[in-house]
């Protein structure tokens, strides 16, 4: 069971299903039946077929070789950093650059093991602050600003 239900197999199965679904989506559109090289789907279909073929080979190799991925040292840390980074990249447009960057720093630095609150706050505020000063107020290339003030 372990041979089949491991991270490598699951990820490769997910890739195979994705490629299959994308291949299926190339049919049934108004331009799908256009002749060979004229068809917008001609090239992507070749690539998706190659993707699926290689995916099957990689999957078989993985199952036969019983390869293991590296262990995660701390699920909490990786979870916090991944979620923080994904939320951060999502909210910059709506909440501005400065505030999300400060919050991201306040979350990420302790996750990476910085325990000194003074250092955490100083870095979390100083780096985004310096970038806002540089880009918004010196170079005239404004980063997104928050809904509260046009200054940052």
């Amino acid at each position: 069971m372990q041979r089949i239900a491991n991270e490598r197999v699951i990820v490769q199965l997910a890739l195979l299903i994705t490629a299959g679904a994308l291949y299926a989506s190339t049919f049934g559109q108004s331009f799908s039946a256009t002749e060979l090289a004229q068809s917008p789907m001609f090239f992507p279909r070749i690539i998706l077929v190659l993707w699926m073929g290689l995916n099957v080979i990689a999957l078989v190799q993985t199952v036969l070789a019983q390869e293991d991925v590296g262990a995660i040292a701390s699920w909490v840390r990786i979870g916090v950093v991944v979620v923080a980074a994904l939320v951060y990249t999502n909210v910059i447009a709506s909440e501005g650059f400065f505030l999300p960057s400060v919050v991201f720093g306040l979350i990420c630095l302790p996750a990476f093991g910085i325990r000194n609150p003074f250092l955490v706050i100083l870095f979390a505020v100083a780096v985004p602050g310096a970038l806002v000063l540089l880009f918004n107020h010196t170079l005239g290339m404004p980063l997104p600003v928050s809904r509260f003030t046009h200054l940052f």
Binding site: E7, R8, V11, L15, L22, S25, F31, T34, E35, L36, A37, Q38, P40, F42, F43, P44, I47, L48, L50, W51, L54, N55, I57, A58, Q61, E67, V69, G70, I72, A73, R77, I78, V81, V82, A85, L86, Y88, T89, N90, I92, A93, F97, S101, F104, G105, C108, L109, A111, F112, G113, I114, F123, A124, V127, L131, F135, L139, M141, L143, P144
Partner: protein, 495 residues
């Protein structure tokens, strides 16, 4: 191109030109010295600053950061036994033992001189080889271009560290990502699923920075927190005297040659060149017995070769529009951002620009010597910065960089998603360089294949019957693709 040299020198001697040359090289050295940043991330971090610049200074800044970071990697390799960049991994083998016996300054001196000589020779190769290659490629029609891109794609095989199948698969994923958005011939939308943000396709730089920089942060977060490395005693660079070079010049020349040849081949990269050169040095150097125990020839082999790659790698990038690795892929994307179309016509259409870029690259390599001597003292304490600060700063700087590329918040989402997917794929052993190369070359591959098929009424074999250049390139592509596969299959038999 020489007739444009006065104009090029004018650009380089302007305030903006001098600033980008000096600051770019300095920033590159410092960023390259910081383990975990690497040349690709260093170039990506600096990218937003180029958007307000004119074409030549923008490209020169990126080249300065690229060359500076390759050299800077040797500082960390020698002082803390951790290569700042993968290219400097071979430098650790002799640099650190030398530093441990109290010769850190001299070890860095060997690395600096070897890097400068390697870089300068590669700049000369670039200046002479790129225009010739581009002039030859100007004759190419869509069929020849298709065969050329096919050959370029085979570099995916050589950049596929670990599993070849996974490397090829990553390449296919990259090519597929390049097909999202408008079809190049009919303009129909593909794989957008009604999302207008995808009409222009995925932004290359958002994907590149996501899969390289952001995924690196996630990988560091998944590993045990690293301790701050101990520095060896270091009081500045000591340059080797003339007498110390006796018996080592042949090794230097050979290393520079290996670096240049490997650099010109798409996909091989500086790390491969450094290790091949190191292995050759260990085989043929008169001082081979000392290799691995602090032998200067080991440092010279690695550093001369990895810096010689920088100019060589730019030859196919500038002359043909084929990136050799992720860094040159970022460079190509930057050229596009500045309204320059990469490819064989680049040299012909922009002679003054190319002259200033090439002359700038030569000066950058000259600057490595004084700036290396000056900045190694500054960079040494930086090596002790905690990983947490570097990783947090990388995410913030990447967000700034991607936002400035198009000012489109959707690119930030793409970067985040690419970072997460890149993290998952890298954990499973998928190399990311093939994905990026596939994404860069995919559009031209598709366009030329379809144009060729339309010209030959759908007869693919006709691509090669009436086009000898295409035939030669296709045979070279098949050989380049099959040799590593055969080696992988038959190489295991003795075991």
């Amino acid at each position: 191109m020489l007739s444009y040299l006065p104009e090029a020198i004018g650009i380089l001697l302007s305030l903006e030109g001098l600033l980008v040359l000096v600051l770019g090289t300095a920033i590159g050295i410092v960023l390259g010295a910081m383990p975990g940043i690497g040349s690709t991330v260093a170039v990506a971090i600096v990218l937003p600053f180029t958007l307000t610049m004119s074409q030549a200074p923008a490209i020169i800044l990126l080249l300065a950061v690229y060359a500076g970071s390759v050299y800077g990697g040797s500082i960390a390799a020698i002082l803390i036994n951790t290569p700042g960049t993968p290219q400097s991994a071979a430098t650790c083998l002799d640099g650190y033992p030398m530093a441990k016996r109290g010769e850190a300054g001299l070890a860095l001196g060997w690395a600096t001189v070897a890097s400068v000589i390697g870089g300068l020779v590669s700049a000369v190769v670039l200046i002479f080889a790129a225009p010739q290659l581009a002039a030859f490629a100007l004759e190419f029609g869509p069929i020849e271009t298709f065969a050329l891109i096919l050959l370029g794609m085979t570099c995916i095989v050589s950049v596929s560290t670990g599993s070849l199948v996974k490397g090829l698969m990553a390449g296919m994923i990259g090519i597929f990502l390049s097909t999202v958005g408008g079809d190049p011939i009919l303009g129909e939308m593909r794989f957008t699923f009604g999302n207008w943000q995808l009409f222009a396709g995925f932004n290359l730089l958002a994907v590149v920075i996501g899969v390289f920089a952001l995924s690196e942060v996630f990988i560091r977060a998944s590993a045990p927190i690293s301790r701050v490395s101990e520095l060896v005693a270091f009081n500045g660079i000591v340059l080797p005297s003339w007498s110390m070079w006796k018996g080592r010049l042949r090794n230097l020349g050979k290393s520079v040659f290996i670096g240049n040849v490997i650099g010109v081949l798409p996909g091989t990269g500086a790390a491969t060149a450094a290790f091949i050169s190191y292995a050759e040095g260990r085989r043929s150097s008169p001082n081979k017995d000392g290799f691995g125990e602090g032998e200067p020839d080991g440092i010279v082999s690695s550093e001369a070769a990895n810096n010689a790659v920088t100019g060589g790698a730019l030859v196919p990038t500038m002359a043909l529009g084929i990136p050799g690795d992720a860094i040159t892929a970022v460079m190509l994307a930057t050229l596009t951002l500045h309204g320059i179309t990469p490819g064989p016509k680049l040299v012909d259409d922009n002679p003054a620009l190319i002259a200033s870029i090439f002359a700038g690259f030569f000066i950058i390599n000259l600057l490595l010597l004084p700036l290396g001597m000056l900045l190694s003292r500054v960079a040494a304490p930086i090596l002790r910065i905690r990983e947490a600060f570097m990783m947090t700063a990388i995410v913030i700087l990447c967000a700034v960089g991607i936002f400035f590329v198009r000012g489109n918040p959707f690119d930030l989402l793409v970067m985040g998603a690419a970072g997460f997917v890149g993290f998952l794929l890298r954990r499973q052993g998928f190399p990311m360089a093939p994905l990026v190369i596939g994404m860069v070359l995919g559009p031209t591959l598709e366009l030329t294949l379809r144009q060729g098929l339309i010209l030959t009424d759908g007869n693919f074999l006709a691509f090669f019957t009436g086009h000898p250049i295409a035939l030669v390139l296709a045979i070279a592509a098949v050989l380049a693709l099959s040799l590593p596969i055969l080696r992988a299959i038959f190489g295991r038999r003795p075991q």
